[in-house]
Symmetry: D2
């Protein structure tokens, strides 16, 4: 029997071919399929993997861990990459790869393999996680192997190989773009989306309806947070109370999607130095981010909030670039965790045709004081103090100006 | 004749009373009314000021300067305070105060006065600008003067004084909140808005209709940018081409408002250390910010973009806190200006019920390469290079992990 | 009996006069003298305070807490203000003020008082700490009270008052500058030092000899760190091993001072907006900072180290400005603490005439690999990987250049 | 004739062998030798290059450009990498590579070659510059070519090849470490320095004497800056006035070196992810950095200074990592340039046995006001303003504490 290898297997044509190809090269293959909330017939995928030569198949349900340890950690930091992208794929990859390493350890395998290409971000996220957690890992990424690339120059070569090898070819027409799907989002890129001047087709979306086609009624809800994490959703329009991390995200995806919330279209910067056009739908994540940020307005100290705003792009960049498991993430996360101690309270929202509208917020840990804020009463604030405050703040500006005037 | 004083006069009840009060204290008052795009009967305001004792009245049309030198500078930096506020009032104040200083210089006045209270941000923005540009200025801010505050403890005192002194009292019912209006936005705060748990009334808004009440049809448009600044709006739905800084902002306000774009509701942190609930409508600014950011995705280098993202909160904080005229703003703006050299191109958008949807972008200065980005061709990108790229990036992660495993 | 008040009392002329003045105003005064390592006859100071009207005197030995909870926390972050100042006074003030609040709580006093002036940083550090820990505190700072300032316009007024009231006047000639002394440093400012063009007198220094007058022999030592904190000093030249936080700092002050280490002279920026000339001697602190930073070179991940470098000026600014007890310090310190987990090891140094020279370092937690670093062997590093690494890093630079060339 | 290639040639054994090896592979080689201030017999090097097969030799005097456009730019930003390294080599590499690209353009060559290894930083600095300025460049780095590495496994292989090919072998014993020398510094690494626990030999240094062996007398001097750049050195001890960028650096190297200034020993983080031990001597640069920073204390606004402190580590990292020619450097440099407008004035220093002691500073552009700073007079500063200043600053700390107490 050959060297042991664990392959991150998706069930699709690419990784099926890779499985077969690796199998023919003599590897003893454990196929591993991560369930992070994507639509998939896991049973069929398992059978196919075994058929194609896998000696063992793992199907791992990572959904709950994905929400609690990945999505919610990014939420605490209000992560958003380049102003738009909520990092749905970026957050799932390190978890998928971490579990793959665990399987490799259990199986005594030293080789890890994946089906990501050499131009994208996912290869980086997979491989940095492999090496960060299993420094001695050997990696086989067929799409970066000359022999493999030479063999499979286009889709026709793959179909031909599949036919020869008895690999089932999906009956559905290949979509004119690539997608990645998980609990947090669906991403769309490549193919017809490669022209950044052209809008995507409204029918492309899976989790969300475009605002123009969304239902005419509003959905009203409340989200309750504890230490920066949603613990309860009160769906007022549907008279449902949802708790549990996974259930909350699923429900927000549902009602967010119906209301057309969370579609973005952008040109983004990949870690490998090229620009790429990405379209994303992240209904639940968008609602949560908006609500979380709003609650921080009520409960977080100003300077902590501004430090978070300055560090957020860095944290998002680290996640995007695949450095989830890194000393710098541990460093920054220690601060983020500290900041969430008092982010408790309830945010009220209305979802309506693409909008996630904040309609109120309250917290037992509020730092807001109506009396202090009010223009109608002193509220413990001596307005004359502001005179000195401003004068002292102006001193260096005055010195600067006096020099300019010389 | 008394000491010369220039008063930032709005025409409303507060600054009318202040004008009269200062006049009775014997100051030689120049009333100054800045036109930054608010709704106002400037002629009537002028007459009222003269009636109340102003020896001279200036009405300054600052609209164009406001757009070109303030709104567009913030746009270049993608400024947004605490994730939501587009700084409409914060941007107008330094301009208003700068012109007031110029008038003071022309009139030989040493005293500057304004009607902002001691709890808010505007006092800071006025006074820091006064002192930054005219270090020798003396400031009279009646709402921070004991004598004035003792005299005017509530609205009743003000109405009584107005009646005694023949100050016209607005016939319209006082609104149950305060507003500030200019070309960029209308702000709403105080009064019934002081309860952050309660949503504002849909009827409150002036520039924008709430998404729920917005028109059913879309508005499609294109915005052309040169060096980070909009130079043309092609309103496809209304078959109009608009150029000119001021005209562009006005038109975007109009179509943005009709489509319910740009309303935000937040709890924010004032520079004086208190939290405050603010509601804003910024239709045109919201559209421009979204379009500008999108075009930067296509035309800006990744690292410049990420540096801008890190510095943006700082720049926004400086604007919010009244440090528009400061050496640190000059320092940061030098970098921002540099970054905009290639931010040229066209962004296509659809406005619809609160959404400003990007539907495409193009630029002769694009850094995006379809070939390079494509998953279907090499496009000058050797995917095998990624192997070394990732391995080298992993080296310190591996070292970290090896130590952890010890 | 009057209202209870706790005065931060130094034993010197200023706070003696303040004590008497407050006493005559009828306050029931608890004098509180903090021992942070300064030279002082605490017994005599106590007697003097009682003589001048204090109803109670606290003398608090804060030395150990100062080292462990303040000096070492700043050390972990490599704090240095504006490139030079090691924050000796800034670190002591919050501790002194915190203990004062504790005494006020114990004594049931609501009023806190100190002798710092209105132009300096110490007033801010005292008062921000008072209010941060005891929000309801009332503060009396006589040097900002009109009545007090009017009475004491110059030193002559103070001496006259002292003579009238029987306040002992120090027999020693008043020094032509001010100093503040504690375990970490002595600061010198004001008086003849106010001319930034003139060097201080060599004889002024207390803890350190200027390099030109330092002894001719070297002192060799080793410092052992655990989790970023020094736990052992091996003084090789004097054949002594010193452990214990307080003893380590004292010993490093002694040998550092003999070798002329740690004198700086700078123009710095005070929080109140004015520039100030300060001269400092920080022998032990300088040695520790240099050693700590060096050990981080060996044991800290690069990206963590660079994040620390970016945040260090902010942390130092917060300490300098009196925000030791603030949510933003808690936020940043959480990250700093995390970073120190592996900062273990030994640094070898030679002290000689102003120099603290690193002569070697070692650590069981080293991230340095001689094999990997070596130019003479592969050491697990495939140099060909660098090709791809550089090419991928160059991609966006090439795109930028191609656009420039158009 | 073969393909044209420009080789960065040093005259040493490595690049001589590379020249010969490339020549034998049939390339038409232009050897290029940059004079950045290193000790070198350029005439002999030229003859050797021609002898070894170069068809043409360029010797470029880059000294003045190096000082004015590279060293001084870094000085303006107070650049220092990881707290210690003044970036001497990092600053020279992009200039050397830029000129190499210019020669390639002139000669019509498409291929650029250098002798740096695959583990170090210099390969990155060379190649990123090549590709940033000449995106179409082809690069041959023999130390990363399998064929070359296989052939030259150790020094013995190189000597054997040199003997076979008639390449002159330096008669001097190879030093047990590597060095790089230019006007700014000499670096020492590798070989016996690879053990970070062992101090370097005192005799190793070229530009500076170790403090212990430095002369017993002081050197007093004044440095005059204009817009952040030194324009005059007044060497008081030697009664010389030196002007001219290049002459200033040379003179400061001389007197700095005699006084033992500017030696550092550190473990640093390379861009390729490995830690490396480096020893550097930078006498003139150290003096200039210290003087420049000091003058900024007098002439720079506080907030600009603090922003520079925050950005400095990033700028230094970019320089270290080879991103001198990059959009992000242009972005940051625009701000740095702006900041230097008023950095004019004179700094007085004393050099003595490793110390560069500031003894005074003055400037017609000073922002320091003795009156304002003085504790003995009001100086236009109303100390009572500080009350309000502190109270307002404390408001959010009080709110935070009140919540904690709940």
């Amino acid at each position: 029997m050959g060297e042991k290898l664990v392959l991150a297997y998706s069930g699709g044509l690419d990784t099926s071919i890779i499985l077969k190809w690796l199998s023919e090269k003599g590897y003893d293959i454990t196929a591993y399929l991560a369930d992070v909330g994507q639509e998939e017939d896991f049973k069929a995928a398992k059978e196919k993997a075994l058929l194609l030569g896998a000696s063992k198949v793992y199907i791992e349900d990572l959904k709950k861990e994905f929400v609690q340890e990945y999505i919610f950690k990014a939420l605490k930091a209000n992560c958003i990459y380049e102003g738009n992208y909520l990092l749905g794929t970026s957050l799932a990859r390190p978890l998928i790869a971490k579990k793959q390493v665990e399987i490799a350890r259990k199986e005594g395998a030293k080789i890890l393999s994946h089906g990501a290409t050499g131009k994208g971000n996912d290869q980086v996220r997979f491989e940095l996680t492999y090496l960060a957690l299993m420094p001695e890992a050997k990696i086989i990424a067929p799409w970066k192997e000359k022999e493999f690339i030479d063999k499979f120059k286009g889709r026709q070569d793959m179909i031909k190989y599949a036919e020869e090898k008895g690999i089932p070819i999906p009956v559905t027409q290949k979509k004119p773009y690539s997608t990645d799907e998980n609990l947090m989002h669906t991403s769309f890129e490549s193919g017809i989306l490669e022209d950044p001047a052209t809008a995507p087709d409204d029918a492309m979306f899976k989790k969300a309806i475009v605002p123009q086609n969304a239902k005419d009624s509003e959905t009203k809800l409340e989200i309750v947070f504890e230490k920066g994490i949603p613990v309860l959703v009160n769906d007022l329009s549907n008279a449902k109370k949802i708790s549990g991390a996974l259930e909350i995200v699923k429900h927000l995806n549902k009602i967010g999607g119906e209301n057309g919330v969370g579609i973005v279209d952008m040109v983004e910067n990949r870690f490998v130095g090229i620009k790429s056009r990405g379209v994303y739908e992240t209904p639940g994540g968008t609602i949560l981010l908006k609500a979380h940020r709003d609650l921080e307005g009520l409960t977080l100290d100003r300077e902590v909030s501004h430090l978070k705003d300055m560090l957020m792009p860095k944290i998002s960049e680290l996640i995007y670039n695949g450095f989830w498991f890194s000393p710098e993430m541990e460093f920054l996360n220690a601060a983020i965790e500290k900041s969430q101690e008092h982010v408790n309270g309830t945010v009220k929202m209305t979802l309506y045709k693409g909008n996630a509208i904040i309609t109120g917020r309250s917290s037992a840990d509020s730092l807001y004081s109506q009396k202090q804020s009010s223009m109608d009463e002193e509220g413990g604030f001596n307005q004359q103090d502001s005179k000195g405050f401003i004068k002292i703040n102006a001193i260096r500006l005055q010195a600067h100006q006096k020099r300019e005037q010389k």
